[in-house]
């Protein structure tokens, strides 16, 4: 499993649009992608799950990527998040 963290820069938090972007990107991965905020976690490929975490501006969340291609997929995901979210 590969882990990395990011902080939500969007002032409205991880609202519909960035959540949508993240789901779309996560769906490209063959690995299981989990987002963890505090003691709650959600499947990054499921938009309701992700929005249910109610991630706000400035909050730090952990991303866990687990699967055969976890190294490269985590790297791609991290780059995408840094650029877009």
């Amino acid at each position: 499993m590969v882990k990395f963290t990011f902080t939500v820069k969007d002032e409205m938090g991880l609202h519909a649009r960035p959540a949508g972007l993240l789901v779309k990107e996560a769906a490209k991965c063959t690995s299981k992608v989990t987002i963890k905020k505090g003691d709650k976690s959600g499947d990054a490929k499921r938009i309701f799950n992700l929005m249910g975490l109610s991630i706000k501006h400035g909050e730090e969340v952990e991303v866990m990527v687990e699967g055969e291609k976890e190294q490269e997929e985590a790297a791609a995901l991290e780059a995408f998040i840094a650029e877009n979210i």
């Binding site: 949508g20 789901v23 499947d43 938009i47 249910g52 109610s54």
Partner: protein
């Protein structure tokens, strides 16, 4: 004539005929189903068709309101395809042996409830998205054709609330305003009004008999005026025409350089008091931030904000401004802006008391925490730091020593920082008089005209009795500004104005002639000043 008040979510004036939209209730009945698998297959086909509809809406919205406005329909597609949402529908059909319509309705209730329970105002609104896609899915299942909203001739849309798909189906060339009974500043109606640049009101308790009537929407006062009297209507027609003219002009100025006819560039920056003002900075096309008041970080807390807390805010502003200048003013509080945990004594004359840099230079720990946060953030953008309430060269030298200490410590700990321009506020007569010497110590000056006027004229701005004596354009102030510009340039510092006077259109020409390099004003003043400067011969 009847007036209804509400909350304006977007400014402007609109005059037109009301079209009252009434939601058609979609009645869902619970039916027993024998062949569960066939019912699930029917639900799946309906999902595919609903998805096609949403794709079409996305394309339509893309053309009409652009990518950011259309994005919601892409999100709707994801919600529709969401595994949990789909599984819930299928499970209900399977376990309860019910029709797909009913399963969708129950699923919609459960999912929208999840959003409605969230604390965040924006997330609460997302319950409406779930309902919107579910209603569409139910309509497809029951093969109900929804008539397109006919907005012929009607220009003020009045409804309980509007869903994204309702709003996108309207003929936007005819819609002049939205008025809703419910909704919030984050609702789609509000977002759409902002994108379409039309006034919108929410929270209006209108009566149902207003359909087809002529009305005025005042998006400044937050009023809906139904069947206005002739004189009221005439007044609003005049206002609407003026507003349209102004809007047109301002739209033309967006993205243009702030440069005089003779080619002199002026940096036109914005003053902000918190992160929430950033949107206005972007909308009004400021070239940077000339005064970011850092006080809010201290005011909204019960204890000193930590270095990390401050760093996150500064970094986020620097990143949002993406390389444009962000000038952050260090803590500027005193006995007039009390913060409990600072434990400041009550003073007889707080304006001239223990405040701003005087606190920072005696309580070095507070100062260094802020400086460390600022320098760390400087690795993420173009940050400048300015210090308030300066009266002497020695103060500036002391500040620079502390800055060097902070940089040294960061370096020792291997923490990155960028190039930072250092400047001071010129807001005391003393600083004006020694500005030539001060200029040699710093990169820039920013003239704080509010305090400078108060200290120079010996007039307390809060005292209404002194209004007759107060002259904002007092020659003493204007001569001081001229002197600061000249001395600043002599000593190699650029000079700006961040006080209220900077936004005074009557003085813009004079400032340009003095050789001012920068004006920092509230976001809404940016474009009018840009016009004034571009017209300057």
């Amino acid at each position: 004539m009847k007036r209804y008040s509400g909350k304006a979510v977007f400014h402007g004036i609109a005059i037109g005929k009301i079209q009252l939209l009434k939601k058609k209730e979609t009645n869902v009945f619970r039916n027993h189903i024998e062949d569960v698998e066939q019912e699930i297959a029917r639900a799946e086909r309906a999902v595919t068709e609903t998805e096609d509809q949403l794709k079409k809406l996305y394309d339509k919205a893309l053309l009409e309101v652009g990518e950011s406005g259309a994005a919601i329909f892409e999100v709707h597609q994801m919600m529709l395809q969401d595994q949990d949402y789909q599984e819930s529908i299928q499970n209900i059909i399977r376990t309860q042996q019910v029709n797909a319509e009913y399963a969708v309705a129950i699923t919609a209730d459960n999912f929208s409830e999840m959003f409605a329970q969230m604390e965040d105002a924006y997330m609460k609104e997302r319950a409406a998205d779930v309902k919107d896609i579910s209603e569409r899915l139910i309509r497809v299942l029951s093969a109900e054709e929804k008539e397109d909203l006919d907005t012929d001739g009607a220009t003020i849309i009045v409804a309980d609330d509007l869903s994204p798909s309702e709003t996108v189906q309207m003929d936007k060339s005819k819609v002049k305003s939205f008025v809703t009974r419910y909704g919030s500043s984050n609702s789609h109606t509000a977002i759409l009004a902002r994108t379409m640049n039309v006034p919108a009101l929410i929270g209006v308790a209108y009566e149902d008999d207003i359909d087809g009537m002529t009305a005025v929407v005042d998006g400044f006062k937050g009023e809906l005026i139904v069947e206005p009297d002739t004189d009221v209507l005439a007044e609003y027609e005049k206002k609407a025409a003026e507003e349209a003219e102004k809007q047109k002009l301002l739209q033309e100025l967006k993205g243009k350089e702030t440069v005089t006819q003779s080619g002199k560039q002026i940096r036109l920056y914005a003053n902000i008091g918190g992160i929430s003002d950033l949107q206005a900075v972007m909308q009004n096309d400021a070239a940077g931030i000339g005064l970011f008041r850092s006080e809010f970080l201290y005011l909204e807390k019960d204890d000193y904000p930590t270095e990390d807390e401050q760093f996150k805010v500064y970094r986020s502003v620097a990143e949002t401004m993406a390389g444009k200048k962000v000038i952050i003013r260090t803590l500027d509080i005193g006995a007039d802006k009390q913060i409990g945990y600072f434990g400041l004594d009550k003073e007889d004359n707080p304006a001239m008391g223990y405040r701003a840099i005087r606190i920072c230079l005696t309580r070095i720990d507070i100062f260094k925490t802020q400086l460390r946060a600022l320098y760390r953030a400087s690795a993420y953008g173009n940050i400048g730091i300015m210090f308030p309430m300066i009266i002497s060269v020695n103060e500036v030298k002391r500040i620079k020593e502390i800055v060097e200490e902070v940089k040294r410590e960061l370096k020792e700990n291997g923490i990155a920082y960028g190039e930072v321009e250092l400047g001071i506020m010129i807001e005391t007569p003393a600083a004006v008089m020694v500005s030539e010497e001060l200029a040699k110590e710093v990169d820039f000056f920013s003239i704080g005209t509010n305090d400078l006027t108060q200290y120079t004229l010996a007039i307390d701005r809060q005292n209404a009795k002194l209004d007759d004596f107060y002259d904002a354009h007092h020659p003493a102030i204007l001569r001081m500004i001229r002197m600061v510009v000249e001395n600043g340039h002599k000593g190699g510092a650029w000079v700006g104005i961040c006080g209220e006077l900077g936004a005074d259109l009557e003085l813009t020409n004079e400032f340009v002639e003095m050789g001012i390099d920068e004006l920092s004003v509230s976001p809404s003043c940016i474009l009018p000043i840009r016009k004034k400067i571009r017209d300057h011969q």
